[in-house]
């Protein structure tokens, strides 16, 4: 049987502050509507890069948890 790939939830970005600044920078000067559209495009591009539906499902599940739910995970 195929080993199911695990969503990486340990730190995996080499320079976290740089990435974060670039992500926020991307939205600078955009309206809420433009930012929403951009985020959607970004999610789609990343999702396609990952491709593996199992990993995508784990990511959707993890993202759907927030607040107390998220903390318990």
């Amino acid at each position: 049987m195929d080993e199911m790939s695990e969503l990486i939830t340990k730190a995996n970005i080499a320079r976290p502050d740089d990435f974060y600044a670039e992500l926020i920078g991307l939205h600078e000067g955009r309206t809420k509507e433009e930012s929403d559209a951009l985020n959607a495009r970004l999610i789609l591009l990343l999702a396609n890069h990952i491709g593996d539906i199992d990993v995508l499902r784990q990511a959707m599940k993890a993202a759907a948890k927030s607040g107390h739910d998220g903390a318990r995970n």
């Binding site: 929403d36 559209a37 959607a40 495009r41 999610i43 789609l44 591009l45 396609n48």
Partner: protein
């Protein structure tokens, strides 16, 4: 000139049944001479099962209806003897263009797989299609086959009795009654029979309105392509489809949304204004039909109710995106007719008909799922859904990956009856596309087409291996079709049927679906699989 949809082609004629002292009994009565009822009748009569078709009307269908017919239904129509006129008259298309807002975002080519007799799709007006089926009925009549079509016969009520159904019919000469061992209800979306039986639909329902205009334009104005607009300037927030039919008729399909004033929208000046905004002010066209349709995605909980069997729109409905209405109705009768014949002949138990429910509900659910998803993409139901939809369309212009996410209708593909109780043994080294439950894939073999050699009876297809020419399995004959890799110059047969094996034996159902498959012939295994395929494996004895 009278046009084909204005000419009565099965006018009312008084039948001897109307003068009978007591109701005449018929093995099968089909109610409705739409595409599905006619296909059922042709299929039955071809196999020698007597059938009477009743329709309150006497003409082919009226108004804008089906235009797009997929390969599988064309293969079924080949088996029914109507494939050639359909394909000769129909418009074959492969190219589609997708527009978003004011621009074209991409173009696709269906690039149909080689090695099939029939094209992926043709476009043809439903009235032509029905005419070819009626021509076929006439041909069968002339050949002495037991088929009769009664126009001007409206079913007023039905009564399910012990082992048969009594029908009360209204005609221009007054009412009469007949009895049917089996009644096949192909009486359309508004199915009076469904209402008479107090049956309803289940499933998700959503509603939308479409303004459908069939217009006549000069050749050369638009190519033979499927053009689909999301949120265009001439129909903001909605979608529009342009598709070519034979005889220079184009189908224009404007989605209007749910809260609209139908009367206002239908006014010729408003329709013309819409069309001019779309086609340009100087476009010249003639209106053939203009109508507003409402579609729903839903099905009956069960298609078999005792001796009444529902097929086509009476049993299930889908939105038009994906062209699944008539296409799936034809797969219904393809599935039903051989079962009905075996039950009528006493060669299979009545429970075989429950597998019609099982298999075609599976098909209907697949169609409903696909059309619901298309509808959700075309008409996003929330802000976030629209944001993602628009993001997909934006990305599709420059990134190939986003194109498969664009959903302007997933065009009808044949249904595989995975998990059906009629399926027998599989061989995992053979190709998945021909696993039990699948419709046979066509392939060119020794100058012929495989599908032209299949159907209408149980067959044992052998590839590079031996088997008896004929097996009698409890009154059901299994005929061998011997094939050889030597007749497979393109390799399609090996690719579609052998996969990782050197030889294969396939048990094929009369509807060209695979029942079971093995590497070599084993008589006991074949008999077992046949019993399973006709539901005789559950303690049935003749």
């Amino acid at each position: 000139m009278t046009r084909i949809f204005e000419t009565p082609i099965y006018p009312y004629v008084r039948s001897a049944d109307q003068d009978a002292a007591s109701p005449a009994r018929h093995p099968v009565v089909v109610v409705g001479a739409g595409p599905v009822g006619l296909a059922a009748a042709v299929d039955l009569a071809q196999a020698g099962t007597p059938v009477v078709v009743l329709d309150e009307n006497d003409k082919v269908s009226w108004g804008s209806r089906a235009i797009c017919f997929a390969k599988r239904p064309l293969e079924i129509l080949d088996r029914l003897g109507c494939g050639d006129p359909m394909v000769d008259k129909g418009v074959v298309w492969n190219v589609g263009k997708v527009f978003f807002d004011e621009r074209q975002v991409y173009e696709f080519n269906l690039l149909p797989e080689a090695g099939h007799k029939r094209p992926a799709f043709i476009n043809l007006q439903q009235y032509h299609f029905e005419k070819y089926l009626v021509d076929r009925v006439r041909e069968l009549e002339a050949a002495g086959k037991p088929i009769e079509i009664r126009g001007g016969n409206k079913v007023r009520s039905i009564d399910q009795r012990e082992g048969h159904v009594r029908l009360d019919i209204e005609t221009p000469d007054g009412p009469y009654a007949i009895d049917a061992d089996w009644l096949v209800a192909c009486d359309g979306a508004a199915s009076p029979i469904r209402s008479m039986m107090g049956l309803d639909f289940i499933g998700r329902t959503f509603e939308d309105n479409f303004l459908i205009a069939d217009i006549v334009m000069q050749e050369g104005d638009f190519p033979t392509e499927r053009w689909f607009w999301f949120d265009p300037p001439f129909n903001r927030g909605q979608s529009t489809l342009l598709h070519k039919q034979p005889d220079n008729v184009w189908r224009v399909d404007f989605q209007l949304g749910w809260n609209i004033d139908k009367e206002e929208e239908k006014k010729p000046e408003n329709v013309t204004r819409r069309l001019k905004a779309f086609l340009g002010d100087d476009a010249s066209f003639e209106l053939e039909w203009v109508s507003i349709y409402t579609f729903q995605c839903r099905r009956m909980a069960k298609f078999r109710h005792g001796h009444v069997l529902f097929a086509g729109d009476s049993a299930h409905q889908v939105s038009p995106f994906g062209a699944r209405g008539a296409n799936s109705g034809l797969q219904d009768t393809d599935n039903l007719v051989w079962k009905l014949k075996l039950v009528l002949e006493g060669k299979a138990p009545e429970t075989l008909l429950d597998s019609y429910d099982e298999e075609r509900i599976h098909g209907a659910d697949e169609n409903i799922l696909n059309s619901s998803r298309s509808t959700d993409f075309i008409t996003p139901k929330s802000d976030i859904s629209r944001i993602f939809r628009d993001a997909v369309l934006e990305l599709s212009e420059h990134h190939e990956f986003a194109r498969p996410l664009v959903n302007s209708g997933r065009l009808s593909v044949p249904c595989t009856y995975d998990g059906s109780s009629l399926n027998g043994t599989d061989d995992e080294k053979m190709p998945p596309r021909t696993r039990p439950g699948s419709p046979a894939s066509d392939a060119p073999i020794g100058g012929k087409w495989l599908l032209d050699m299949l159907g209408g009876r149980f067959q044992l297809v052998t590839i590079d291996t031996e088997a008896p020419e004929r097996i009698d399995a409890g009154g059901i004959g299994i005929e061998r079709l011997a094939l050889s890799s030597a007749d497979d110059p393109t390799g399609a047969l090996a690719e579609r049927y052998l996969g990782g094996r050197e030889s294969a034996v396939y048990l094929m159902r009369p509807d060209q679906h695979v029942a079971a498959r093995w590497v070599g012939f084993n008589e006991a295994a074949v008999r077992d699989a046949l019993d399973t395929a006709v539901a005789r494996d559950r303690g049935w004895t003749r």
